[in-house]
């Protein structure tokens, strides 16, 4: 390996150095000026986003390269840009959330970047061991972040709960990996597929099946798919609002990205098995998430269940992947739908959580206390309405195009029952999103008006809302990108490997 090959690690190196720099800065910054660490971090993240974008267009940068367990390709870069966007928005949400006297603000931004680094590695991993390590890298700083409000017992409870669940998840994942290794004799994703294809009988090897199922359970825990979702509402309710925003988006996107790579590149031969699992998982997740959300009073819990339901929709995309034939001409629509929906989910959910963060800083956490928000702060209510309607899938917002894509994929695989269940679920979800709207708009209450958000929050909200509207009206920005990104991935194994 030459030193110039380090370029394929450029995103990871950049984020890691920024995180370490923030730790040093935290050490030298006086307590009153800690806010500037957040701003600095946000600006640097923006610079990285631009930089990676330029690099991606540069020939000097290898389009696809792999180094043992690590792959660098357009697919990973797409996800890395998404993670940076999340980190950027959440950093801006957090800047004015923590009060001046709160301790450890600098470390907070560093932790956020460590999680992002974990997500980076996860979508780049091509080896099951690498996968496990990055999985841990992503999770451990999140436990700390959940418990960040040290004086709040709910926050500590949330952190502990998330940690315990996370430990079980890791155990499941590791056991699953070991069984898969026992069955196939390799941990490398690309060798893995060869092994599976050549030994067709392996597909029904019980050890292998158990391993795959256990891995799927671990992933389901992380994305809070039913029946592995119970932790989500409790953790969300206790953790500080900006952390919840982060928790609800980045790790979920990372795990979905990993699953896309794993099942697209590595486990295609097992398709009949996992498509059935995904169909059941999607149906359960959508339905239970939506039905449980109907009864929530707390905004964070509501968004937790709504997030569960959103993951259910994405799983519909996985369920609609068709069997792998040798000369499959076109890229399957299910994968495109998944990638598009992740972007849609990012914008919609972060806009909603941004507003919840702001409201939470003003002591509003219940739906009831939203009463009269349309009078007290019309702009905030309007933005909240847009983000909720996008989550519900109302045109011309991005959530609609995303759901359209996913259910289209389901129908394309003749999963009519799943498509019908999905659209009926969207109707059910409208019920609780509109309940929030009803509280904001229909019910009047005199009270103190809520001031307009600070500059950083305004910027973050505008970016998210702009994403909801712009991608909703011009979806081909993302669809085009997703096709470009996925096409090389579906031609497994990757030809260009460096030793």
């Amino acid at each position: 390996m030459k030193i110039s090959h380090l370029i394929i690690f450029a995103p990871e190196i950049a984020v890691l150095s920024l995180a370490l720099l923030l730790l040093i800065l935290d050490w030298v910054t006086p307590k009153r000026k800690k806010v500037w660490i957040g701003y600095f971090s946000a600006i640097m993240i923006l610079v990285f986003m631009g930089g990676f974008l330029c690099l991606a267009k540069n020939r000097f940068f290898p389009y696809a390269a792999s180094f043992h367990g690590f792959i660098f390709d357009a697919f990973a870069l797409y996800f890395k840009e998404l993670f940076l966007l999340v980190a950027f928005l959440v950093t801006l949400f957090s800047v004015n959330f923590f009060k001046q006297e709160d301790e450890g603000q600098g470390e907070y931004y560093a932790l956020l970047l460590f999680v992002t680094l974990g997500c980076f590695l996860l979508v780049s991993s091509a080896d099951l061991l690498m996968l496990f390590l990055s999985f841990e890298m992503m999770s451990i700083p999140l436990y700390v972040m959940c418990a960040y409000a040290k004086k709040d017992s709910k926050s500590s409870e949330s952190g502990l709960k998330y940690f315990l669940i996370g430990a079980i998840t890791s155990a499941l994942l590791l056991y699953g990996i070991s069984l898969v290794y026992a069955a196939t004799g390799t941990t490398n994703l690309h060798l893995f597929i060869d092994g599976l294809v050549s030994a067709n009988k392996l597909a029904y090897n019980p050890i292998l099946l158990l391993g795959v199922v256990l891995m799927l359970c671990a992933f389901s825990f992380k994305i809070a798919a039913v029946p592995f979702h119970m932790w989500a509402p409790d953790v969300y309710e206790g953790a500080p609002a900006p952390v919840v925003a982060f928790l609800a988006v980045s790790p979920k996107i990372a795990v979905i990205g990993l699953m896309t790579r794993l099942f697209l590149a590595g486990m295609q031969p097992l398709q009949p098995l996992w498509v059935f699992l995904f169909a059941v998982l999607a149906a359960l997740t959508m339905t239970v998430g939506n039905l449980a959300a109907l009864f929530q009073q707390n905004l964070k819990r509501l968004l937790a269940y709504s997030g569960i339901a959103q993951m259910g929709y994405i799983l519909v995309g996985f369920a609609s992947i068709q069997p792998f034939f040798k000369n499959m001409p076109t890229l399957q629509i299910g994968y495109q739908a998944i990638l598009f929906y992740l972007a849609a989910y990012l914008f919609s959910d972060l806009a909603a959580f941004g507003i919840v963060t702001y409201l939470s800083a003003h002591g509003i956490e219940e739906i009831k206390s939203l009463k009269g928000l349309a009078e007290k702060n019309p702009m905030l209510a309007f933005l909240f309405l847009i983000s909720l309607l996008s989550l519900a899938g109302v045109p011309p917002l991005v959530g609609f195009v995303g759901k359209f894509y996913l259910f289209l994929a389901a129908v394309s695989s003749k999963l009519y029952w799943l498509a019908v269940l999905g659209v009926v679920n969207s109707v059910i979800s409208l019920f609780y999103y509109l309940r929030v709207a009803r509280s904001m708009y229909f019910e009047k209450e005199e009270g103190v008006s809520i001031p307009y958000p600070s500059f950083s929050m305004q910027v973050a909200l505008l970016v998210a809302i702009f994403g909801i509207l712009a991608v909703g009206v011009y979806p081909f920005v993302i669809t085009h990108l997703s096709i470009q990104v996925l096409t090389p991935l579906s031609n497994v194994p990757i030809s260009h490997a460096m030793k």
Partner: protein
């Protein structure tokens, strides 16, 4: 062709007005919002007349076309254009949008938000009548239905049933309406997906959502598809059009809505459902239509009779009008089910005529409510002396509704039942029974409201601003005009209707 700009302007004028109000209207100053809405209403009205009069019935199938790529990877394009059927609907939309804006001047509370939502509905309705792309139909369908929730919940009023205990709350009605419409929309969406994926099997070179291209496909080649899909699509549109037993959102929603929104709901939103039945269900799946429409004829007659029976039992004026809509939409379904040109012309004419008449009646009911603060006919009485203008116009509207010769309702019913005579005589006789019931509930309501015993506690003033009188008078003029000269409508729509019927009969 450059003429598409008129159609684009027709669609985008309400959207532009909504955007202008959102950005520029100062809070607490309603004048700007009203002016912008009025300008867009007048513009839309003028455009609709231009489009209607410049539509060439002998010309190509779809005129005023514009087509732009939007998501070519999925075969979605922004494609608009009209044929003879949508030309009639465009005219109706133009008339009712303006009338609704004028009727909205009575709104005093949160005017800015009100007009934004109202204009969004108007744009959604306009869009769904002119779009020739299945994806965009869904977009406009949602655009027309989602703001309804806010319009009803924020500016609506509770129902006024005989017993307060049973009165429906406006929030409940708004939610019921939106969930029903969304459920219909959900099934329409899935049905469209199925059409999309079978379009290649049906003989198209690539998958597409484009209506004109799908029209070239032969879905009847796939044996089971039309048989299974047609009833799903028909009922999904039927939810919006008030098909029994999926009509229950209709009376609650219409009654709870503010006046202008009731006018739009009954006037054009129900027609969107019926239009969808013609355009997407019958035209794309003619073999399914041939098979299933006789069954729906029976449901149509149930619609007529059940709607009329329910209207007879109501105490709230708006509920009476709403149930009369259920009954009258039954006539549309019956006309469609006949599958002959007479019945279809009658159905389309009924869609237009019922739109005008119901909007008129809802407008008058709204004025009565505004002046007397009650809509319960038990509390009303003897208003003819106190409010002569309303009494005269309500009687005229009622007569048009029950099908008095010389007014548009008569032409529609006459054509429909003529068509039914050639289709199934028993259904015609049963349907005509519904007309007797219609006469009964309308005349009873008129008697109780305007000529019954005077209720001394009501002291309404009979003062009407010009903007209250003009739309009422104009709508009455419309029913008379199209009642006396029905050829204006039928000559435009004739060829398009015939081509659909030929599709169903397997000719051409």
């Amino acid at each position: 062709m450059d003429r598409a700009i008129f159609l684009n302007a027709f669609l985008f004028s309400p959207l532009a007005a909504a955007l202008l109000i959102l950005i520029f209207c100062p809070k607490g100053n309603p004048v700007f919002a009203r002016a912008a809405a009025l300008v867009s209403g007048i513009l839309g009205f003028a455009l609709s007349i231009y489009i209607f009069t410049h539509y060439d019935p002998g010309g190509s199938q779809f005129q005023f076309q514009a087509n732009a790529n939007w998501l070519p990877a999925l075969g979605i394009g922004y494609h608009i254009g009209i044929d003879g059927i949508s030309a009639v609907m465009v005219l109706l939309t133009g008339i009712l949008n303006l009338a609704a804006v004028l009727a909205s001047f009575a709104i005093k509370d949160r005017v800015k938000e009100y007009f934004i939502f109202l204009l969004l509905v108007e744009a959604g309705v306009a869009g769904s009548f002119i779009t020739l792309d299945l994806f965009f139909f869904i977009v406009f369908y949602e655009l027309a239905s989602i703001p309804m929730y806010f319009l009803i919940g924020m500016w609506g009023s509770d129902g006024q049933q005989a017993s307060r205990k049973w009165a429906t709350k406006k929030e409940f009605s708004a939610l019921k309406l939106i969930l029903y419409l969304q459920l219909g929309g959900a099934f329409i969406l899935v049905s469209f997906f199925v059409l999309y994926f079978f379009s290649v099997k049906a003989g198209l070179p690539h998958r597409t959502f484009d209506f004109v291209e799908l029209l070239q496909a032969h879905f009847s080649r796939i044996p089971e598809l039309p048989k299974i899909l047609f009833p799903i699509l028909f009922i999904a549109f039927g939810i919006e059009a008030g098909l029994v037993p999926f009509h229950t959102w209709l009376p609650d929603g219409h009654s709870a809505a503010p006046t202008a929104v009731s006018m739009l709901l009954a006037g054009v939103l129900l027609k969107m459902g019926a239009y969808g039945m013609i355009r997407f269900a019958c035209e794309l799946l003619p073999s399914g239509a041939k098979l299933w429409l006789p069954l729906f004829a029976v449901i149509a007659v149930i619609n007529i009779l059940y709607g009329a029976y329910c209207a007879l039992k109501q105490y709230d004026i708006k509920y009476i009008i709403a149930y009369s809509s259920v009954s009258h939409m039954g006539i549309v379904f019956l006309g469609l089910a006949t599958q002959n040109i007479m019945g279809w012309t009658g159905a389309l004419f009924q869609m237009f005529s019922h739109g005008i008449i119901t909007a008129l009646l809802f407008m008058i009911a709204g004025t009565i409510y505004e002046k007397t603060h009650t809509r319960n006919i038990l509390q009303l009485g003897g208003l003819a002396a106190k409010m002569p203008f309303l009494a005269v116009t309500f009687v005229l509207g009622g007569l048009a509704s029950l099908g008095l010769p010389g007014m548009s309702g008569f032409v529609a019913e006459f054509l429909t039942f003529m068509g039914t005579f050639g289709f199934e005589r028993i259904l015609m006789v049963l349907g005509l029974l519904g007309l007797i019931l219609t006469a009964l509930y309308i005349l009873l309501a008129v008697r109780k409201i305007f000529f019954g015993a005077d209720n001394p506690s009501l002291n309404p003033e009979d003062a009407h601003a010009w903007w209250e009188k003009i739309p009422v008078a104009a709508l009455i003029a419309c029913t008379l005009l199209f009642g006396i000269l029905p050829g204006i409508i039928t000559s435009i729509s004739q060829n398009s209707l015939i081509s659909v019927i030929h599709l169903m009969k397997g000719i051409g």
